[in-house]
């Protein structure tokens, strides 16, 4: 009798410990992934975006993305459009924050106007693609609540629930590769009705400076609309040594002129 009570208590405490560790382990993995990517300082990369509709028709966009790593707050980024030609020079400057809304400015080259824009529209599509703004913004640990799901060889599956109610998702299921610096292999996105909306697969991984894994191909498939967006990254540059001065409204105008 006593033993069975003890066993019972032991079982309960194990299950509590397990429940705690599912959340803790999820967070731990996200932190490990963040830590593995720390110290890249800055990067410049060219991006070709191919949008495919359900009939297979495609259209292309060319962009250049500059990123500045910050540790005390979220990263800064500057995106410049080079194609289609009618929007060439259109640029955005984003200061991501670990907590609260991001700050974002848009530069319109035709009238040389810098406009502060609301970062409220997280769930909307980025330039007609299957990527939402929130999919492309800096992935800060603080933006999600975590639950560890399963370990499958070197792959770790973690559920991430967005903290921000303005997110378009109830949850994302992220597959990390623990043997490769906790790089992300796949993300499944569940919409607000909790049905599978999109799958993002990362491929053509390349290791930079012996430490930073960067996927050169992102493929986002929307299961509900049957549309696809393919991102191809090229010419990663980690040597540019960008600084805060390269991420100002003055730099935004200079980049888009």
């Amino acid at each position: 009798m006593r033993t069975s009570i003890l066993v019972g208590i032991a079982l309960i405490s194990i299950s509590i410990a397990a429940a705690q560790s599912a959340e803790e382990r999820g967070l731990q993995i996200a932190k490990a992934a963040e830590k593995a990517d720390q110290g890249f300082i800055s990067s410049i990369v060219n991006l070709k975006m191919t949008l495919k509709n359900k009939n297979g028709q495609t259209s292309e966009r060319l962009l250049v993305t500059k990123t500045l790593e910050l540790t005390e707050d979220g990263d800064k980024s500057l995106i410049v459009f080079n194609s289609p030609k009618d929007v060439k020079g259109t640029s955005t400057l984003t200061f991501t924050h670990k907590v609260g809304s991001d700050d974002q400015w848009l530069f319109l080259p035709s009238i040389k106007r810098v406009k502060r824009i609301s970062s409220n529209n997280k769930s909307g599509p980025f330039v007609g693609s299957e990527f939402a703004y929130e999919d492309l913004s800096s992935q800060e640990v603080e933006k999600y609540a975590y639950t560890f799901l399963e370990e499958n060889g070197n792959l770790l599956l973690v559920e991430q629930d967005p903290v921000d109610p303005k997110s378009g998702y109830t949850r994302r299921i992220v597959t990390y590769n623990k043997d490769k610096g906790y790089r992300i292999e796949k993300i499944e996105f569940y919409d607000r009705k909790n049905s599978l909306l999109k799958t993002l697969t990362y491929s053509d991984y390349k290791l930079y400076k012996g430490k930073f894994w960067r996927a050169l191909t992102f493929n986002m498939i929307n299961h509900q609309s049957n549309k696809e967006t393919l991102l191809k990254f090229s010419d990663y540059n980690f040597e540019a040594m960008l600084a805060d001065e390269d991420f100002t409204q003055v730099a935004l105008q200079r980049a888009g002129k």
Binding site: K85, S101, P125, D191, S225, R254
Partner: protein
């Protein structure tokens, strides 16, 4: 565009290129050439108010662009040209929108040459924006500008914001519609008939300054301009003669935007002082966007602004006590389809101007635009707009990019 000015800028640029081409570190130069060809048709569907005014305006425009960048993009030479051929002889015009050398280093940036600079936050009127002369024959909304010769120095500080200093050595006059053109006064205004208050005429050496900063959700700009104004001043003497000239002005401007969730709260205001005139003007408004409405990316923005101008009926814009309301619809599709509809209505009379602007891309290098401006029930007593009361129009334009 005066030949003398172009010569001046050309000599300046050549000097700079020579100076920097000797620098071995300048390394790789990136060249970039772009060309836009545009066909446009404007149709004014009401009978003209004044003699010789036409109804149909087929038109053609060319916009070449060239950029050379080196020193990792921190140094560049930029050129934007413009030419339009139109039924209205005054609207047939060419311009160098931009031709300048730029260098940026750490926390400063320098630009020398013809350049365009935009200041402000509101949508229906651009009060604070004063650096460039308006290309008044090009568009109705006044958003097209002439290239302004300048030396611009920008100093960026992390704590105290950005300081901009402008030296503006030459003034450019505004062009008004010609004999055949619409949107004009009974008397055709020849820009050469307008004089200057300054004895140096166009060569008065003008100065401007702007401070721009942001704190959290606040974006603020404070500016001052001292020089020959961009708007001509019309004065009437006792015998009824019109005297039109460009006055020397001191203008202080404030622009403020508060970005709070989906709300943008906006304010622009100016105080302008000249010997012949002193006045205050302001625009206050807001923009609210319902985003991703259908889960497919549809954004609908609602805009409302109040416009005040102490000049009352003498305000060249005709916006002295008016309300602007509008809606911006963006489909966020692969063709970037967007529509802006709105109206400006006078609070003291029946006068209202409705407008629609829509644009869409076709393929990867074509775009089409549709614009409509409808002058509705314009009060005969409106000093400016009463002349345009029969000038409602539709415009369609198609552009090809190379």
């Amino acid at each position: 565009m005066k030949v003398k000015t172009i010569h001046f800028i050309f000599v300046l640029l050549c000097g700079i290129i020579r100076m920097y081409s000797q620098d071995e570190r300048s390394k790789k130069v990136n060249h970039d050439f772009e060309l836009e060809l545009e066909g446009e048709y404007r149709y004014f569907y009401n009978d003209a108010l004044f003699e010789d005014q036409k109804d149909h305006f087929p038109s053609f425009a060319v916009r070449p662009e060239y950029k050379a960048e080196w020193n990792k993009g921190y140094e560049s030479i930029n050129f934007k040209g413009f030419f339009r051929l139109d039924v209205d002889d005054e609207r047939t015009h060419w311009d160098i929108r931009e031709l300048y050398y730029q260098k940026a280093k750490n926390n400063w940036e320098l630009s020398l040459g013809l350049k365009k600079v935009y200041w402000g936050v509101t949508e229906s009127n651009h009060l604070v924006d004063i650096i460039n002369q308006t290309d008044a024959v090009e568009t109705f909304d006044g958003e097209e500008k002439l290239g302004q010769p300048m030396a611009q120095f920008t100093w960026i500080t992390e704590k105290f914001g950005t300081f901009n200093f402008f030296y503006l050595p030459y003034h450019r006059k505004r062009t008004f519609a010609g004999e055949k053109g619409r949107l004009r006064f009974p008397v055709v205004i020849d820009k050469d008939d307008l004089t200057y208050e300054s004895s140096a005429s166009a060569w008065r050496q003008d100065l401007a300054f702007r401070w721009k900063h942001y704190f959290d959700i606040f974006d603020i700009g404070l500016s001052h301009f001292y020089g020959t104004g961009r708007e001509p001043l019309f004065t009437f003497d006792l015998t009824g003669n019109i005297n039109a000239f460009y006055p020397i002005i001191n203008q202080t401007g404030l622009d403020l935007q508060i970005t709070h969730n989906a709300f943008l709260w906006k304010l622009e205001s100016i105080y302008r002082r000249a010997d012949a005139q002193e006045f205050f003007a302001a625009v206050v408004g807001l923009e609210y966007t319902f985003s991703n409405i259908d889960g497919n990316g549809l954004d609908i923005g609602l805009l409302g602004e109040y416009l005040y101008d102490e000049r009352d009926e003498l305000a060249l814009t005709g916006l002295q006590n008016d309300i602007f309301f509008g809606s911006r619809i963006a489909f966020n599709d692969t063709q970037d389809t967007s529509i802006l509809i709105g109206g400006i209505t006078d609070l003291e009379s029946s006068s209202t101007i409705f407008s629609l602007e829509a644009s869409r891309r076709f393929g990867s290098s074509w775009t089409a635009e549709v614009e409509a401006r409808i002058f509705n029930d314009i009060d005969q007593n409106e000093l400016i707009f009463s002349n345009f009361r029969e000038d409602s129009f539709l415009r369609i334009s198609i552009s090809k990019y190379f």
